[in-house]
Symmetry: C2
Subunit: 244 residues, 2 copies
């Protein structure tokens, strides 16, 4: 009778929240995206039904289908978890799903997650804000509604760190528009691929080199002076003991 919109964080299961882990352990059904990793799904109880609605290009799960599925499941089960990468309300389309559910009388709860927008840079040793280098951060995707590319020229003079999610395919356009808008072509950029996972890879360059970088999605693009920072953090903590 309730749907929980739950953020799964950037990938590493240890970056789930305590509440997310509790919900995965007691859910009747978990509806998740394509990019949710196997370590996260291991936290789901063995008796629980898992549904992958990953929007792989060419498959049939539209957002409308997912909304309908959630409404139907809410009518059949007590606890439905809708598990989304990162945070459900940061480009997660959680707002649309919440509205669709509320319109049909379903109780909706939200459990914020660690957003890749901040965590991917952090795990690459890049603080998105840093005294003397950046007093703010602007997070956008490359593609807005109906496939329209976001106007990056407008973002060239914001004077804060720019974080672009889902921007790998559009990186030539992003770079060209930011330069045309007045951003220095020598501005540092970093592309963080598969953040928080064992094969995380960070590529650093200048803004005018972004188009030519050999990078693959999923990745987070960071633009601004902080992208040159590498705090040399040993981010991945493998030796952690279990909670006592």
């Amino acid at each position: 009778m309730s749907v929980y919109l739950v953020g799964a964080g950037p990938g590493d299961a240890d970056l789930l929240t305590l509440r997310a882990a509790q919900l995965l352990a007691r859910a009747d059904v978990v509806v998740h995206d394509r990019l949710i990793g196997p370590d996260v799904l291991e936290l789901v109880s063995a008796r629980t039904v898992c549904v992958d609605v990953g929007k792989v290009p060419g498959t049939s799960h539209t957002q409308g289908d997912i909304n309908e599925l959630l409404v139907e499941l809410a009518g059949r089960y007590d606890t439905v978890v809708r598990l989304k990468g990162g945070d459900p309300f940061v480009f997660g389309r959680g707002g649309e799903e919440a509205l669709a559910l509320l319109a049909r009388g379903v109780v909706v709860h939200v459990v914020p997650g660690v957003s890749s927008a901040f965590a991917a840079p952090a795990l690459a040793g890049i603080p998105v804000t840093h005294r003397g280098a950046s007093h703010g951060v602007c997070v956008v995707t490359a593609t807005a509604e109906e496939g329209r590319v976001v106007d990056f020229e407008r973002l060239a003079n914001v004077d804060v760190t720019l974080v672009v999610l889902m921007g790998v395919a559009q990186r030539a356009t992003i770079s060209a528009q930011l330069c045309r808008g007045g951003l220095d072509p020598a501005t540092p950029v970093a592309v963080v691929q598969r953040a928080s996972l064992e094969d995380q890879l960070v590529v650093r360059a200048r803004l005018d080199q972004l188009a030519d970088l050999d990078v693959i999605a999923p990745a987070v693009i960071v633009v601004g002076p902080v992208a040159a920072l590498d705090l040399g953090l040993d981010a991945l903590v493998d030796e952690l003991v279990a909670v006592a």
Copy 2:
């Protein structure tokens, strides 16, 4: 010998990450800020030393003092946790602490946390991005280095949701500058006070009413069409069972 820069999330202990909870349980010493709540500190082992370095105005813990304290503790203990509200690299000055520690040869790890910048709006039923309303989000504080107020006129035309942290005292200036920069005075705003805690309070108004609102810090200010949304979420989940 290691310092872990750990995000504590917006306040509710259930929004800690699994890794943060594991580290609190096994830390030798925990150095925390003023706004870390008692429920979070309950996760710290009874044998662990807790140091509150909250920067209350008028007290003596400068950032330099904190950096020195962390270096000193790292020499005496195996596992030092530096626990910060939200995420350590989103206005948490984690970058400065990391640099100070690295310069002294201390190994630094970072554990991202749920940032109040996204979680406070989410827990008020406001998705910071929402198709048709906002395709991005810009997060700033009201005050930059040396107490200088950030130039909000520059942010008036960004055309994404604006989230202002630590902005309550400067709300008249923020409102005036955004209007002067061209933002519609009727733009919806929401002020989320004590996000995620039992006495969370949300006040909604128009941008030109922001100065006159009766609100108190700590609070997160959201500016943009999404601030008018209220997804009616039942955000606080009290009945959760413990992890099986």
